[in-house]
């Protein structure tokens, strides 16, 4: 009887787990199949008839192609470089400066940063960017994303910087290095995994961000892919499923490639610590 009970409870567990797995997996499966289906709808099914024509139509849309392969990349990479560089320097300064209250400052910044890119701050942000003359520029979008993501990035980087023993830096100084040289030779290589995490995380955030570019950009030539996907809607406002899915599939590829590359090259971890 006990064995039977065990089997039943196990089976029930797997059944429930399978339902949840399907809930998450089905949209992904749909995303992979639908672009190759000439008559795709909202149901998951094998492509019939199989076609590559959807991609042909997507590439014929110059606005959407430019958005994906130029604008999104410029905004994503720009914010990624800026956030990673600034977060590393700021985290280092916060970690090493003999100032009290830097911990509170870090926590406070993270707390408030969730507001900066949020909807509530959109009006003041719009006015600020307008006053700076950066409306309808890639730079305006990059700066707003950088401002919003930087505090959390500093927070992540601090953990990595804090894990470097002071004696490493001191021994470099005594060995004859200048402080800047010590930072480049010793601190930077040790926190590199953290920088990679921040870089990927920033890129993904900007890549998927819709609201900020939608508000700050005007001309179609500056729009990123997250906004340009609307060019595959009918004039009545309904998505053309064959084209939106084909475009979406292309839209996911750079993020996947970036993640896989960083994971293969540096390993992905969200905490500091020396792997010697």
């Amino acid at each position: 009887m006990r064995l039977l009970g065990l089997v039943v409870s196990r089976a029930a567990f797997y059944a429930v787990a399978a339902v949840f797995a399907c809930l998450f997996a089905l949209p992904l499966v749909w995303l992979v199949f639908a672009p190759f289906d000439a008559r795709a709808n909202l149901f998951v099914r094998l492509p019939h008839p199989f076609t590559l024509a959807n991609f042909g139509k997507v590439f014929a849309n110059g606005f959407a192609v430019r958005a994906l392969f130029a604008n999104s990349i410029i905004q994503g990479v720009g914010a990624m470089l800026l956030v990673t560089l600034l977060a590393t320097l700021m985290a280092y300064a916060l970690s090493r400066a003999p100032i009290r209250g830097t911990d509170m400052l870090s926590y406070g910044l993270v707390l408030f940063s969730s507001i900066v890119t949020g909807t509530a701050a959109m009006v003041p942000l719009f006015l600020l960017i307008y006053a700076m003359g950066l409306i309808d520029t890639q730079l305006g979008v990059i700066l707003v994303f950088t401002g919003g993501l930087l505090p959390a990035a500093v927070f992540i980087m601090r953990d990595f910087v804090d894990s470097i023993p002071r004696s490493y830096e001191e021994s470099a100084l005594v060995a004859g290095a200048s402080p800047w040289r010590m930072f480049l030779d010793i601190a930077l290589p040790i926190v590199r995994p953290g920088m990679m995490v921040v870089a990927v995380w920033t890129f993904v955030n900007v890549w998927g961000g819709f609201f900020v570019p939608f508000i700050l950009l005007r001309s179609p030539t500056n729009m990123p892919a997250s906004v340009a996907i609307y060019s595959f809607y009918t004039e009545g406002g309904t998505p053309i499923i064959t084209l939106t899915t084909a475009y979406s599939l292309l839209y996911t590829i750079p993020v996947l490639v970036l993640y896989l590359f960083v994971n293969w090259r540096y390993g992905f971890r969200f905490f500091g610590g020396i792997k010697s």
């Binding site: 023993p165 470099a172 005594v174 060995a175 004859g176 290095a177």
Partner: protein
């Protein structure tokens, strides 16, 4: 090789005086140990010399140069850290060659020199590995190699042996001493281990609460401790310290404790000049200067045997005397059994006396 001078150097952290008006003069090629308990300011003193801390006041010079305000890289010192501080992302060869790299020595020359130093320290087979792949003793040697590779004027050691096990520590100790003698470079070595300091140093500076309380050759400091603190810190087991009353009567002088007395009439003149009958003093006697005596002998210390510790060549015997433990070091003698009464003769020639403030009374 260079002379090192500390002139009235102080370092305060807020209201804490980590280093308090320390002055000393280290000759060229001398090996100095800064010895003291944790928090006595010895590591801060070393860091001041390395340039990792700025003194609050006073001057520091290396060679003929005043380096008080100089950056670490301008001081030409080599330092071995307590945790070795090897760079985890560099190979052993890169670690050793790093001081040459920042000095702009070409890749070929610096690796040749790193290999030469590694060979002299017996770690030439590890050059391609990383710090995480070698043992603690090998890391320690790598750290030493990195400190010597650019032929600095002064070596600094911050408790470099404290992370090694006991056997390796003794081995590394003789290796360091040999190396320093061979290279003849001035060395400053921080440790809290008195045996290490005694074994390595030409001179020991004993520190307490940020001050140097005594500086001298190891055996001088051991034989003539300036204060009860030094007497207690140096030697294992430390010097026995007993409170005694001074009796100056009938032309003689006697140190009296409840259980025993010692006749020190030979010192009467000196004692009478500074003390009066009935003054309290502290009597110090090293464990090796207490010898077993027959029960009927005069002027003995008598107590019940509390513990026996046979160490091979010697036996440590600890007795309880009026609630105080005193320890004797016996060579060869058969010690009395536990719980039995033991009698010890105190040789007045090997006594130390301290006044109430704990300062040595010179007689």
């Amino acid at each position: 090789m260079a002379r090192v001078v500390f002139d009235n150097v102080s370092k305060h952290f807020g209201s804490v005086k980590a280093v308090d008006e320390v002055s000393f003069d280290i000759s060229e090629g001398e090996f100095i140990c800064l010895l003291g308990p944790s928090g006595c300011g010895k590591t801060t003193t070393l860091r001041l010399l390395a340039g990792l801390e700025q003194p609050t006041s006073g001057r520091i010079s290396i060679g003929d140069r005043d380096v008080t305000d100089a950056k670490p890289k301008e001081r030409d010192v080599g330092m071995v850290f307590q945790d070795y501080a090897l760079f985890p992302h560099m190979t052993i060869a890169e670690n050793i060659a790093y001081p040459l790299k920042v000095r702009g020595v070409g890749a070929h020359d610096r690796h040749a020199r790193a290999e030469e130093v590694a060979r002299s320290l017996g770690i030439e087979l590890l050059l391609a590995r990383r710090p995480g792949q070698i043992s603690g003793g090998q890391q320690q040697r790598t750290s030493v190699a990195r400190a010597v590779v650019h032929k600095p004027q002064v070596f600094l050691f911050d408790e470099p042996l404290s992370n090694l096990d006991a056997k390796l520590r003794v081995e590394a100790r003789s290796f360091l001493k040999h190396l320093q003698t061979e290279l003849g470079v001035t060395a400053v070595y921080v440790t809290h281990d008195q045996a290490e300091a005694m074994a390595l140093a030409d001179r020991i500076a004993v520190m307490e609460s940020g001050r140097v309380v005594q500086m001298g050759a190891p055996l001088d400091v051991y034989r003539r401790p300036a204060t009860t603190f030094v007497a207690n810190f140096l030697g294992s087991p430390p010097m026995n310290l007993l409170p005694v009353g001074l009796e100056l009567r009938n032309g003689g002088a006697v140190l009296r404790h409840d259980g025993f007395h010692v006749d020190v009439s030979g010192w009467r003149e000196g004692l009478a000049q500074r003390f009066r009958d009935g003054d309290s003093l502290t009597l110090g006697v090293r464990p090796e200067h207490l010898q077993l005596a027959p029960a009927e002998a005069d002027a003995t210390v008598t107590g019940e045997v509390y513990t026996l510790e046979p160490l091979g060549p010697e036996t440590l015997i600890t007795c309880m005397i009026d609630g105080r433990l005193i320890t004797a070091r016996l060579f060869g003698d058969e010690p009395p059994a536990l719980g039995k009464v033991a009698h010890f003769r105190v040789d007045p020639a090997h006594l130390d006396l301290f006044d109430e403030a704990g300062n040595r009374i010179a007689l």
